[in-house]
């Protein structure tokens, strides 16, 4: 039987506020255990939650960016369960009335565009962390993360495979960073994915029983976990078994998913409106003010890059993947001239991206800033250097040897474009290689590259390649 995979994602994006969602404690990552857990965060008797405006603003900004409804009245509810990293014994979340409902986002899978529905996005507080290193057979609890604001973004079950799920997650990851509502740091857990995965016979409507996979803290793990889980479910179904609805944990070391023991029992969260927090009513003015702060969104930027700079759809998608890369690219183009956008794109996506990856650097910390790369692009464009020499110049710039012009001058890399000079060199080579000349003229065309090589060697690669080719062809022809 042919199977179809159905995936919906729940993404938890930590909002980039400086203080917690319900308290004035700091949210900075990496502090010593419990030093950022205040009286409210550790749920001392008598403390009360007070809502952070910064978290609300970020949620609204997100909702506007995905064209969703911003509920003018939303309600905070308590989700009751016991866990050592949940100090109050309940998590404050939104249940019946979330702040954001019904939006969508366009993702790109290969050459195809696809619209994925967003069911809802709601505000809630994060839990602390249980540290499972052994403390005499006990677990340590750090509550620094408790009450950090989260936006839980719930998609429709619109994805049909791991590739779409990854594309969706990456698009969302890019969006929250564009909006500057989340730092997107997946290692630090700022952006986490849970995947609801099921399979059904292709062509049928009814959804299969789903499993929720947790702990997917990289796009690679997301992909592998889904692939594993889909294969597992198909195996079970094809051997006549049934899928049990459960929560599973992805183990990246073993590259498999397994049922979570702590989630074995059926939960009854007993949601009810939090009596400590009044309904959150948002004014049209507040929403309008936030709308004004929306930046150009990735999708719009991608379309503009195609239209304005004549880039391919693929190039535009790569260059707009992050706001920083798009900004860098546009900075280069502005300085080098829009006519050279394609060259600029190739350099940003090629040598620059490669060097950044090699040295594990963010584009914002590139040793070659946009202005310097623009200088290099300009010298390629005006034929001062060839593309090949440009690579040498780029490496020198990367190593801090100055800007393109200085490096070209100091290393004598300026391209030879004087036809007379090139002719003179060609004449010398032809004279020195009479045998090869004879063979070429008798039909051995392949020897052309021998003469090009000799000429480049003689000019240390500085001869303008096009001119050299043209002149060489003429001279060899006799």
């Amino acid at each position: 039987m042919e199977w179809e995979t159905v995936i919906g994602l729940e993404i938890h994006a930590q909002l980039s506020t400086v203080s917690k969602i319900f308290s004035g404690a700091a949210t900075a990552y990496g502090a010593a255990p419990n030093t950022q857990a205040c009286a409210v965060d550790i749920a001392l008797p008598g403390v009360l939650p007070v809502m952070n405006k910064g978290a609300v603003e970020r949620a609204i900004k997100f909702g506007l960016a995905i064209g969703a409804n911003i509920n003018r009245e939303s309600v905070f509810a308590r989700k009751n369960y016991f866990y050592p990293d949940l100090p109050k014994g309940y998590q404050i979340s939104q249940y019946e009335l979330p702040i954001v409902e019904k939006g969508d986002i366009t993702i790109q899978v290969g050459d195809q565009e696809k619209v994925v529905g967003i069911t809802r996005a709601h505000l809630e507080e994060d839990a602390g962390k249980s540290l499972h290193e052994d403390f005499h057979g006990m677990t340590g609890v750090d509550l620094n993360r408790a009450s950090t604001p989260l936006l839980e973004i719930v998609s429709e079950p619109d994805m049909r495979g791991a590739a779409e799920a990854v594309a969706y997650a990456k698009t969302m990851h890019s969006l929250v960073q564009y909006l500057e509502i989340c730092d997107g740091n997946m290692q630090e857990g700022s952006f986490r994915c849970d995947a609801n995965v099921s399979v059904r016979p292709k062509g049928t409507e009814k959804f299969g029983t789903r499993c929720e996979i947790k702990n997917l803290n990289s796009f690679r793990f997301l992909e592998r976990a889904i692939e594993y889980e889909v294969a597992r479910q198909i195996d079970i179904l094809e051997s006549g078994g049934k899928i049990i609805q459960e929560t599973r944990l992805y183990d990246s070391d073993k590259d498999e998913t397994r049922a979570m023991r702590s989630k074995e029992e059926a939960f009854d969260y007993r949601y009810f409106p939090d009596p400590d927090l009044l309904p959150m009513k948002l004014s049209a003015e507040m929403i309008a003010e936030i709308r004004k702060t929306l930046p150009e969104l990735p999708d719009a930027k991608r379309r503009r890059f195609i239209q304005q700079y004549g880039l391919s759809s693929y190039d535009a998608a790569v260059l707009t993947a992050t706001k920083a890369m798009a900004a860098y690219f546009e900075d280069v183009v502005n300085k080098a001239g829009a006519a050279h956008a394609k060259t600029a794109a190739n350099w940003v996506m090629g040598d620059l991206a490669g060097a950044l990856k090699r040295d594990n650097l963010e584009i914002t910390h590139s040793p070659v800033p946009a202005g310097k790369l623009a200088g290099l692009v300009a010298r390629i464009a005006d034929n001062t250097i060839s593309g090949k020499i440009a690579k040498e110049v780029f490496e020198a710039m990367w190593n801090g040897e100055g800007d393109a012009d200085a490096i070209i001058a100091s290393k004598g890399l300026k391209q030879i474009t004087d036809s007379g000079a090139i002719e003179k060199i060609i004449d010398g080579i032809i004279a020195a290689n009479p045998d090869q000349l004879a063979q070429y003229r008798s039909g051995k065309d392949k020897l052309f590259s021998f003469f090009v090589g000799q000429a480049m060697k003689a000019t240390q690669g500085k001869a303008n390649p096009q001119q050299l080719n043209d002149l060489l062809k003429k001279k060899l022809a006799g």
């Binding site: 008797p45 009810f272 009596p275 400590d276």
Partner: protein, 484 residues
């Protein structure tokens, strides 16, 4: 001196006739002498209290004192006070020394009030007799066979027995008014949101409200001036301009329209309580007031509604007592689940457990709509009853409790019978209205009767005026139990 009003004590302190240290010591001596029999206090710390008294004396000496500077006030053990053991009447917090101050405590500190100690209470304020306290029941100073009411029974008994000039209480379903009535003192539960809940250990968050308990309405007004105020740390605290609750005390009552809900004078009201309340209303008529019959048709429903909403909120509010970060942890357990279950089984008393289980049940999957949501809808109908009634009157009056103080042990095995004793007080909390109780004589057994005064939202100054004028004309509030 132990019978002096706060105004008199304040004048004596200002005139240096007495120091705060002397005053505080005098009450500490009374506590040492009488508390063993009454059990009104859970924690007394003379050293801390006297240090605060000394600070108050310095402040008075420098002319920086306010109307309450140097006056000792007993605090219900539900208010977190930094450095003070704060138990909420429970074993689970029996070792909890609060690392921070409640807003109410901060405001009293700022006013120069001396914390005289932490008073006994029903465990987590769940009770109407003070018998659910882990620290033992409180005795009613009028009759030690009787309960003082609850949950603020320790505060009520302390004021009634003159172990403290005044005290604080909290009221979720009558926990200030009912013990005030049963011990012959005054207590006011303000409009929900007037007194900050920050640092006041939660029972049922949408109903809990702190307030003063004292000998007279005038004392209550002075205390409320200190306690009330906007607090950014409580999202349900009301952002209103500061009030002077003494401002209307002297207003005459001529033309006052008193609403008498017929449901409050129906079956279930003890005849001796009815007689005392009717006599008080007759007195009001002499003072120029007129009465009008009103109806609060959903009164009977207030008890079932309350026993859904309050346990539901409580079941969630009390989840934080899990033996992880503070408080009691069971000494022996096999694993995490066992640690939770043993800690909570050993740490909570029977009434608290009952309410947690009821609250868990009414919120659980499949029952939410039938119980919790239904109760919230009825809560609106109950609140609307009052809105209708206040179209016809300025204040509502009736009994605070259907009987005078019952005997210790009389209802402790029958939770439902205990719940029914809050029939006249609970609806006020559901509506979020202010309510108070003032002494209005005695029942057949010589135990005090309380008159309840219910006001419209934010009518505290009016209610205090109504109570004060009655106290100028009568002397019930000056009566003191024998043998104290």
């Amino acid at each position: 001196m132990i019978n002096s009003s706060l105004k008199e004590l304040s004048a004596a302190l200002a005139a240096k006739k007495i120091s705060s240290r002397e005053l505080t010591q005098a009450f500490l001596d009374r506590i040492a002498q009488l508390n063993p029999a009454l059990n009104a206090f859970i924690t007394v710390d003379a050293e801390k209290s006297l240090a605060q008294a000394d600070a108050a004396d310095k402040r008075l000496a420098s002319g920086q004192g306010g109307p309450l500077t140097g006056i000792p006030v007993a605090q219900k053990d539900i208010f977190c006070a930094k450095g003070w053991r704060t138990t909420c009447g429970s074993k689970i917090l029996s070792n909890f020394v609060a690392p921070y101050d409640a807003q109410v405590i901060e405001r009293f500190d700022a006013a120069g009030v001396v914390n005289l100690g932490k008073t006994n209470m029903d465990e987590f304020a769940m009770g109407s007799s003070n018998e659910t306290s882990h620290f033992g029941p409180v005795k009613n100073p009028w009759d030690r066979l009787a309960v003082p009411g609850g949950s603020s029974g320790g505060s009520a008994a302390a004021v009634a027995a003159r172990l403290a000039p005044a005290a604080t209480g909290t009221d979720t379903g009558g926990s200030i008014r009912q013990p005030a009535a049963l011990t012959g003192i005054c207590g006011i539960k303000p409009t929900y949101g007037v007194v900050s809940r920050y640092g006041m250990i939660a029972f049922a968050s949408s109903l809990d409200q702190g307030g003063p308990m004292a000998k007279s309405a005038e004392d209550c007004a002075l205390l409320l001036n200190a306690m009330a105020g906007f607090d950014t740390r409580d999202s349900t605290s009301l952002d209103r301009a500061p009030q002077d609750y003494t401002r209307d005390l002297q207003q005459p009552l001529k033309g006052l329209r008193i609403g008498l809900p017929k449901e409050y004078f129906a079956e279930g009201l003890a005849p001796d309580v009815a007689r005392a309340v009717e006599a008080a209303i007759a007195e009001y008529k002499k003072l120029g007031a007129q009465t009008v019959e009103v109806s609060l048709p959903n009164t009977q429903l207030s008890i079932p509604v309350y026993y859904v909403l309050a346990p539901a909120e409580a079941s969630s509010n009390l989840s934080r007592y899990d033996g992880v970060r503070y408080g009691y942890r069971a000494p022996e357990y096999t694993d995490l689940m066992d640690m939770y279950k043993k800690t909570r089984a050993q740490g909570f008393g029977a009434e608290v457990k009952r309410r947690i289980l009821i609250g868990t049940y009414v919120l659980s999957a499949g029952y939410y709509d039938a119980y919790y949501l239904k109760a919230q809808k009825l809560r609106r109908l109950i609140a609307q009853d009052f809105t209708e009634a206040f179209r016809l009157c300025d204040v509502i009056m009736g009994p605070t409790a259907p009987t005078t103080a019952f005997n210790l042990g009389e209802k402790s095995d029958d939770p439902v019978a205990m719940y029914l004793s809050d029939i006249y007080t609970i609806a006020v909390n559901l509506a979020g209205l202010p309510g108070m109780s003032i002494p209005a004589g005695f029942g057949a057994n010589g135990r005090p009767v309380g008159l309840q005064i219910i006001g419209n939202y934010f009518a505290e100054a009016k209610m205090l005026n109504v109570a004060h004028q009655y106290q100028l004309a009568t002397d019930w509030h000056t009566r003191m139990p024998e043998g104290v």
